[in-house]
Symmetry: C2
Subunit: 80 residues, 2 copies
């Protein structure tokens, strides 16, 4: 069994309004040193397969299901 992490974030060029809203909230709470917040999705996926197969499957899922390739980028990491 292989555990895989996937991060899905907006591309750098895409505005992240949710992140901006949370940043404004932190300013109002007095955390004025916070200069940027970007929010993404995070997936922990368990695959009944070896590391190579698991990575290939999770990359396929990330591309086809978990992210919108027009607006988002994803990053796949094998968990220790």
């Amino acid at each position: 069994m292989t555990k895989v992490k996937v991060y899905v974030m907006y591309k750098e060029s895409i505005l992240d309004p949710q992140g901006q809203a949370v940043k404004m909230a932190t300013q109002k709470m007095g955390f004025t040193e916070i200069s940027d917040i970007r929010i993404g999705k995070y997936f922990e996926i368990e695959v009944d397969a070896d590391v190579a197969t698991a990575k290939a499957q999770v990359e396929a899922i990330s591309e086809q299901l978990l992210s919108n390739p027009n607006m988002e980028t994803y990053h796949v990491e094998i968990m220790e």
Copy 2:
């Protein structure tokens, strides 16, 4: 400037219906080796402060704003 990552996940004891729905979608796509998917939130936060101050501030924000301590756990990591 310090970059900090925050992961917010449902506690193990809390059902993750969104993760279950995505898992079912992967099964229908033919990825039958996928045995579990849990979905969380992921934050990349930039703080104009040294590492110790940034970590303390981000932990305070995670507790008060980014997570619901009744249902969720968070994990703070300094980015290299």
